[in-house]
């Protein structure tokens, strides 16, 4: 049996502190994509509160001991939300925040989509639908090794249109992976428009339940609700858990909210850029 990691000081962080960190991360997301003149702000802003909670209050991870075998694993299956993951990793101390401004640039490790060469990143992602399967493999390995780590996978709303996701849901259920948690960033918007128009998925909660997973919905922008969802996930002992985070695409920047055009585009000009930063500060 591997030794469990001791709780870090971050555990038990209060709501206000988490909100402050998320606000910082939102600003960094906007700065990154504006500096790169490309990237995906919409789906980064929708998931950043969940990521903040995961990295500052939920997962056993330690930037000073990144290879510890009992660390919890995080997989950003929607790899285009790299600005969210990179900014939270920087704020958590994996690398200096200044490096974020080299995002997507020729001499930077911060690839356009999530890249394993970046400190703290467990696997490269970018082609949708593959992260949950990787999570299944990691969770299987943990079981084999009697290692207590947990595996967290963030999936995109449009991403679950990929068949690979449903294949991996079957596998997670078959092997009873109670150390695996999937989080759906249900922001309702994908690259070409609203998810309900592009490919209506119906009642996702019921579908996933039918695949043998425990399901819970929560408000992905409310830290109390986020906490109760992850506490619930820990309480489930016999199967994997699928958390549905109800979120707003582009959350925090009014002109990006629910606007598919900002799925993969940065602020168009200085005016939009400054407005985005002002609005984030004012949340």
């Amino acid at each position: 049996m591997e030794k469990s990691m001791p709780d870090k000081d971050f555990k038990g962080m209060d709501r206000e502190t988490l909100e402050k960190i998320a606000k910082k991360a939102r600003s960094l997301i906007i700065k990154m994509v504006y500096s790169a003149k490309s990237g995906h702000p919409g789906g980064s802003l929708s998931i950043i509160d969940v990521l903040t909670y995961l990295y500052f209050n939920e997962m056993n991870v330690d930037p000073s001991d990144q290879n510890l075998s009992s660390r919890d694993r995080f997989i950003m299956s929607k790899g285009h939300a790299s600005p969210a993951l990179y900014s939270i990793l920087a704020l958590r101390g994996y690398f200096p925040s200044e490096l974020l401004m080299d995002f997507r640039k020729i001499n930077s490790k911060l690839e356009g989509h999530v890249h394993r060469g970046v400190p703290g990143v467990e696997t490269s992602t970018g082609s949708l639908g593959q992260g949950l399967g990787i999570g299944v493999g990691m969770a299987l390995a943990a079981k084999m090794d009697h290692n207590p780590y947990r595996v967290y996978v963030v999936l995109g709303d449009g991403e679950i249109e990929e068949g690979n996701v449903w294949e991996s849901l079957m596998a997670g259920s078959k092997y009873g992976l109670n150390n695996l948690v999937a989080i759906l960033d249900k922001n309702g918007v994908q690259l070409d428009g609203f998810t309900r128009d592009i490919m209506p998925m119906g009642n996702v909660a019921e579908k996933v339940k039918a695949f043998g997973w425990e399901v819970r919905e929560f408000n992905g922008h409310d830290f109390d609700d986020i906490k109760s969802a992850f506490d619930f996930a820990r309480s489930v002992k016999d199967r994997p858990v699928f958390l549905i985070a109800n979120t707003v695409k582009g959350k925090g920047v009014s002109y990006m909210e629910n606007n598919y055009k900002y799925h993969g585009s940065p602020p168009a000009n200085d005016e939009e850029y400054e407005r985005a930063l002002r609005e984030i500060e004012g949340i």
């Binding site: 696997t123 490269s124 399967g133 990787i134 299944v136 596998a171």
Partner: protein
């Protein structure tokens, strides 16, 4: 030449042996374990064997996760079905550059009666194009066993090993040890070289006997390591014999014939005649019938040898 067990039977036995000595080896299959022979491993090591069902994408991504968590993952199914996960292999395995071994069976036309849907002749080209992926096509059971030992003991990156369904004769000595990126000269010669791999090695040795009767002294070189390729080994035999044939149970457009031609056109142009599948699907039939049907039999290799030998060596003409 003595008959042997099929390469997949060798693979199945080898996995069991490795399972005993390597605790981090895991095996994944997609409901074909009794055909790929991974079921033998599954019976003895049920905790390290994952039958993922008919869900190849799930299988490949789970293998990636297991490898990222420190396991060495062997992934098996029929070659043709693995190809539907090209992109999972590309993104989750090769880009991460992790320890996943794809050992596939039932490749090529020797699947026979199952027909075109199951006869993949493009896979070596598809897999060779992937950065970080290495590609091996063993010729017999001795080579298969040696390749698996090599992968387990010496490597931690992605490999594609192409096995077939049928039994093929043993062409290597019992003492043979696979060396990555190194050809094996199975028969020496001074007039012509047949570069071949997989099932075509046995045929090529027989074709060389026929060619000898026609006074063409023919070397037979097994190019089991398609990637990395033994460039100097190819060039040295092109220089020595001046005429080349390639023979593969695969499309000539993106497999061994293409790789050999690339090297020789850059380094030492000599007449090359390629034997293999043209731009076509296979069909149902006995495997020996199919070799003749698609002009890949012993007599076709002999004809290719005569054609190559009669061509003027362009390199000598140029110089």
């Amino acid at each position: 030449m003595r008959p042997a067990e099929s390469l997949r039977e060798t693979y199945g036995k080898k996995l069991v042996e490795i399972g005993h000595r390597k605790k981090d080896v895991v095996v994944l299959d997609a409901d074909l374990s009794s055909s790929t022979k991974t079921s033998e491993f599954g019976k003895i090591f049920p905790d390290r064997f994952f039958n993922m069902g008919i869900s190849e994408q799930s299988m490949v991504t789970a293998a990636a996760g297991l490898a990222l968590a420190g396991k060495q993952a062997f992934v098996s199914t029929f070659a043709v079905f693995l190809m539907r996960t090209y992109e999972q292999i590309r993104q989750s395995v090769c880009y991460n550059n992790i320890d996943v071994k794809f050992v596939v069976t039932h490749a090529g036309i020797t699947v026979g009666e199952d027909g075109a849907t199951h006869q993949i002749v493009e896979d070596v080209g598809i897999m060779s194009g992937l950065p970080n992926m290495k590609v091996i096509v063993p010729a017999d059971s001795i080579e298969t066993a040696s390749v698996i030992d090599y992968l387990v003991d010496k490597t931690k990156t992605p490999y594609y090993v192409r096995l077939t369904r049928e039994k093929f004769p043993v062409v290597n000595d019992d003492s043979y040890k696979f060396k990555e990126g190194q050809n094996t000269v199975l028969r020496d010669g001074s007039d012509l070289t047949i570069f071949c791999n997989g099932s075509m090695v046995g045929f090529s040795l027989q074709a060389a006997e026929e060619l000898k009767k026609q006074a063409i002294d023919t070397a037979v070189v097994n190019v089991s390591s398609i990637k990395p390729l033994d460039r100097s080994g190819i060039i040295s035999y092109a220089k020595k014999t001046g005429h080349v044939v390639t023979a593969e149970e695969h499309s000539i457009y993106n497999g061994l014939g293409s790789r050999v031609s690339e090297v020789l056109s850059e380094e030492y142009p000599v007449p090359v005649v390629r034997v293999g599948m043209r731009d076509t699907f296979g069909k149902s039939g006995k495997s020996w019938e199919l070799f003749d049907y698609f002009h890949m039999g012993i007599k076709d290799i002999v004809s290719a040898g005569i054609k190559s030998f009669r061509e003027v060596n362009k390199y000598e003409t140029i110089s």
